[in-house]
Amino acid sequence: MSTKLKDLVKKEDVLTSGHRLCAGCGAPVAVRQILMGAPDDVELVVANPTGCLEVSTTIYPYSSWNASYIHCAFENVASTLSGSEAAYRSLKKQGKIKDDYRFVAFGGDGGTYDIGLQALSGALERGHRMVYVCYNNEAYMNTGIQRSGATMKGAWTSTSPHGKDSYGKTENRKDLTGIVAAHNIPYVAQASISNWRDVVKKAQKAFAADGPSFINILAPCHRGWRYPMEETIELARLAVQTCVWPLYEIENGKWNLTTKPKEKKPVEEYLKPQGRFAHLFKDENREVLKSIQEYVDKDWERIKRLCGEAE
């Protein structure tokens, strides 16, 4: 399948314009890039848990989705879609439907790392053929920027504010991509909306996988991260260049680094433009900044090792 722009632009948008996500939001960019990797000859069922993407694209009586769509609740997009996929297999084998369908979930980090983790794990273990995409903006944005298990250490959120006794979130994020990989499903990847061709390629592989697949895609939110809205893609790029968000894939158990930054930039270059980290640049928080750099370095080495890239 092609990843050439001249071919991709001919694809019909599944997420159409007119939705109510903020201008400059990373989420719809992630959705469009992923769905550019969907095969042309299949029908889609799209599912969302509760979150920014859901509330902004299905305001009754309108829908921005040019495909069948389901929203059930916040913590269960994976099990809801499991049911649809099971229904598809059942009806297909009984000859009650003819068309080929693919099932794709777009869950926020809250709906995936935290409250939806059990449902996700169950669906992966059961092997439903679905593409699960976590559009990761590192907090619960829909409810007003609360911390999630994906929020980076040091970040201000409305439930991890910095104050006299606090420098913001005190814990590092969890390694969800690794947790998903431990389910030994056919395809797992980490992606960023700054590297669109990489996203499309990964999506193509995810849709082709005969089983569950998972993509954790960084999709910055300027409201929550506190930067000018036109810099969304730039922020996503800095996350990759500083190795805060390494791009890799795990294809049938084989780890593969898909982007190697020419020069690994200091984490501060990524943190500096974001208001949520502004307090870290005060003198008293120098140690915190250092510890974030150390965490990123260590994690980057770990991933390189797993991808067979370490010296």
Binding site: V55, P61, H71, S79, A86, A87, S90
Partner: protein
């Protein structure tokens, strides 16, 4: 009526339910085990493993996911079933409202069991009563036969275009689920024809007409809820009609409730579930001694057949409501009592009403206890006064 059934067997309630599920042959079953429902899932797994059904069985990791998967599958045009009880039903709570709010037909046996804490695995009706305002139809069963019959009828009720609501079939944990009972099974072919094929008006798997299930609704929410209320009212005649049709293939009749001696009763007892058997025995004893006792066994708790009940009870002086759960409203008694009492509010002639809360956590409803209650009710009926409105039957005090 002549016995139309092909096969009379001795099986436990859970097996009877699994047998009904085999005959219904749902497209998708997503379920999670919990005592005393477990055997339903196990028996159906064996049926699926032997290739006796077309069902895709989804062995989910929780009841929350069971109901979520049912919602996903029903939205995709599938005929869907699950089964649960107690803590499992509690875990499903938010999804129960989503299933009914999305107007998705599905059938779920709930093997009534108490709710923690303290943990207890035995029968009472607290679990399903907790879901009484969730928009599900709720049909009680007295024994394994009724559980079997209710499951088959529930498919038709749930999928009726005037209704489109999920149905919970209630059966008492252990007392029905685990006790061997005589069950008249209906021919496979007859059940198949009776339930027919699901004909969903909208499905996510129609490429010519993609649908948006579960949108974000600001401005029409109230109207959707009003429609649900109407659908529940529509279910009253549908339950009766389906029951009439069911009689043709089974020889067994069901309505919204069953009556005994109500044509001349001076006082009446109302009960639901397996307790009705013990109560019926006692009512019959009284009647054979010339005492004009009557009884109503409530089958349909949701919808609540208020008008029909008022009519049936119009001739009695005293009504005693047996509730196998309580409302924790602070001494207001059980849910059936409260709803029945409120149904009578507009009536000029109101019977004296008393409540017997019994059987919580599986406390046995013995013949002696029912006898004792009957004596009290008789006394109240002749004096026209009730010293104690809310009574706890069989409580160690």
């Amino acid at each position: 009526m002549a016995v139309i059934n092909s096969k009379t067997v001795a099986i436990v309630g859970n097996e009877a339910v699994a047998e009904a599920m085999r005959q219904i042959n749902p497209d998708v079953v997503a379920a999670y085990p919990i005592t005393p429902q477990t055997d339903i899932v196990q028996a159906f797994s064996a049926i699926a493993a032997d290739g006796l059904v077309d069902t895709e069985l989804v062995n989910v990791e929780s009841e929350h996911s069971a109901m979520s998967a049912c919602i996903g599958a029903a939205s995709s045009g599938a005929r869907v079933m699950t089964a649960t009880c107690s803590q499992g039903l509690g875990l499903m709570w938010e999804l129960l409202y989503i299933a009914s709010g999305l107007r998705l037909p599905m059938v779920m046996p709930n093997v009534n069991r108490s709710l923690s804490a303290p943990i207890n695995i035995h029968c009472d009706h607290s679990d399903s009563m907790g879901a009484r305002d969730s928009g599900w139809i709720q049909l009680f069963s007295e024994n394994a036969q009724e559980a079997y019959d209710n499951i088959i009828q529930a498919v038709r009720i749930s999928e009726h275009p005037d209704v489109y609501l999920p149905v919970m079939v209630l059966m008492d944990g252990f007392i029905i689920s685990h006790a061997v009972d005589r069950v008249d099974l209906i021919d496979d072919e007859k059940v198949k024809n009776f339930v027919g094929e699901r004909n969903a008006p909208f499905t996510m798997l129609d490429p010519n007409n993609p649908v948006c299930v579960g949108p974000f609704v600001h401005s029409y929410y109230f109207e959707f809820k009003r429609q649900q209320e109407e659908a529940m009212a529509n279910a009253l005649p549908v339950i009766k009609n389906v029951s009439d049709e069911f009689e043709k293939i089974s020889g067994r009749t069901y309505g919204l409730f069953e009556t005994l001696g109500m044509e001349d009763a001076e006082f009446a007892v109302i009960a639901q579930g397996s307790g009705a058997g013990t109560i019926r025995h006692q009512v019959e004893c009284l009647r054979s001694n010339g005492i004009r006792a009557g009884m109503i066994k409530l089958r349909s708790f949701r919808p609540f057949p208020a008008e029909e009940l008022i009519k049936a009870l119009s001739g009695v002086k005293t009504v005693a409501v047996f509730d196998r759960s309580t409302t924790f409203a602070g001494g207001m008694g059980g849910p059936v009592f409260n709803e029945l009492r409120s149904s009578f509010y507009e009536q000029e002639a109101k019977p004296l009403m008393v409540n017997y809360v019994y059987g919580l956590g599986g406390r046995d409803l013995s013949v002696e206890l029912v006898k004792k209650a009957m004596e009290e009710i008789l006394e109240m009926n002749s004096s026209g006064k009730a010293e104690q409105k809310i009574n706890y039957l069989g409580l160690r005090e």
